[in-house]
């Protein structure tokens, strides 16, 4: 089992959700987060005076899936979240020891 963690543009969440759903992966956990990349935020102005916005609003999607599905999930997220501009975000994949479906007690791949 693996966990796919994607940090994307908030306005792309709808596209990513639909694409994942169409590909057969409807389950996900979504969190509003703040973050920044190599550009260290953006510059805005108030009454003509510029200031730096250090952390930008981003959306984090977490999906735990069986090993054979992970590559497809990563591809679907990357394709649907991409605009080609700076700030599209990143995807991280990490191993997961186990999972438990609380309602039935099923464990491992059966639980995700």
């Amino acid at each position: 089992m693996k966990k796919v963690e994607a940090v994307i543009r908030p306005e792309k969440l709808e596209d990513v959700k639909e694409s994942l759903s169409d590909a057969g992966f409807p389950s996900m956990t979504v969190t509003d987060v703040k973050g920044r990349g190599l550009q260290e935020g953006v510059t805005q102005s108030w009454r003509g005076e510029e200031y730096n916005v250090d952390f930008l609003n981003k959306t984090r999607i977490e999906i735990v899936a069986s090993e054979e599905d992970v590559d497809e999930i990563v591809d679907v997220i990357a394709d649907s979240a991409r605009t080609g501009d700076i700030g599209d975000g990143k995807i991280f994949v990490s191993p997961v020891e186990t999972a438990v479906r609380i309602r039935t007690g099923e464990e491992g791949d059966d639980a995700v």
């Binding site: 102005s45 009454r47 003509g48």
Partner: protein
Amino acid sequence: MVELEVLTNGVNAIWVLTVTFLIFFMQAGFAMLEAGQVRAKNVANVLMKNMMDWSLGVLVYFFVGLGIAGVAAGLTSSGGFSVAESFAYINDSSAWVSWLFGAVFAMTAATIVSGAVAERLKFKAYVFYSVGITGVVYPVIQGFAWGGGLLSGNGFLGAAVGVGYLDFAGATVVHMLGGVAGLVGAYMVGPRRGRFDSKGDSVPIPGHSMTLVALGTMILAFGWYGFNVGTQATVLAVENGALAFKGTALGRVALNTTLGMGAGGVAAALTTVYTEGKPDPLFTANGLLAGLVAVTGAVPHVTWVGGLILGLIAGVQLPFVYRWVVDVLGIDDVCGVFAVHGSAGAIGTLLIPVFAVSGFSATQLAMQAVGIGVITVWTVVATYFIFKLAQVTVGLRVSESEEIEGLDEGEHGVSAYPEFSGSGGNAGAGETAVDGGEKR
């Protein structure tokens, strides 16, 4: 047989009351405009100041204010006066409509100040100054300019120069006075924490809602029609035994008000394209108001070309005067009230003779300069004295920890946006569920 006098009095009273209510609604505009320009942790404090300067101000203006205006006028003119006569309006029911019409102007001057001193002035000190401006600072100038006092044709200065001071609806009497008072107050209370860095360079402190800024601006502009067009208080008059409709006078003030507003907004937007590269919404909102301020004294006196040009000048000067206040004077005028109300009012009123329908008059130009000077000097001196008095009695500035925490919590024990203030040192947040339930 229709009594023409009764008819005209009735129609004019309805008009005056209608515009009075419009001007009162400007209080809502100021409250929203100022609330939008401060951080979320100080919103309730700004709203409280706006509600209190109106509520307390009308009481002060009833018991003291208008009477002081009469006394100030009588002392500085050849007309002579009695204190009892100056205060006779209190028990004269026929004077109450015009008292209310005067009161809404006084409260407008008072409420401008809160925008300059926001986010660090103690609530008590603000209340203290509100009593001062509605009881003395504004009424004295009202008496000087509009009550037959110092600056009018019969006043000592007006008579000396040879002509009375022109300020139709209060570009200087109301707005410049409020803008200058705000500047003095902001200077005395000092800049907000973090407004200037260790080298003295300015650091912006963004307000929490551009939406409220735009809403407040539009409400103010709406109410301003009462302010300017309403000061043309005579809709119908009896002339040579027949009814006369004052349509052309009303038309001129309505058109000049609108052109000044439009030109101010456009000019500010274009100026910021030049200075910042993009049209700035906040400066544009301010520019629209600065255009209104600039024509407020001039609307019946100048041609429509004049109204347009005054609005343009007001919009263009705005970003530059604002920067001058911040960079040169080092004063933290939170809502830019000096650039919007102060300098715009002075320029617009000074230039009335240049664009006058009746033609240019050097004497009038001299009187305009004298009047602006008198109002400025009086406002600076009186405001300094009152804030100084507040400083030694109730204190001017909230503590450093209260400023960081926010004046909402420190001064009033509330939060304007309880569901969004979990961070930012809001004492008690996390103890109680914000939906009213008890947290377990």
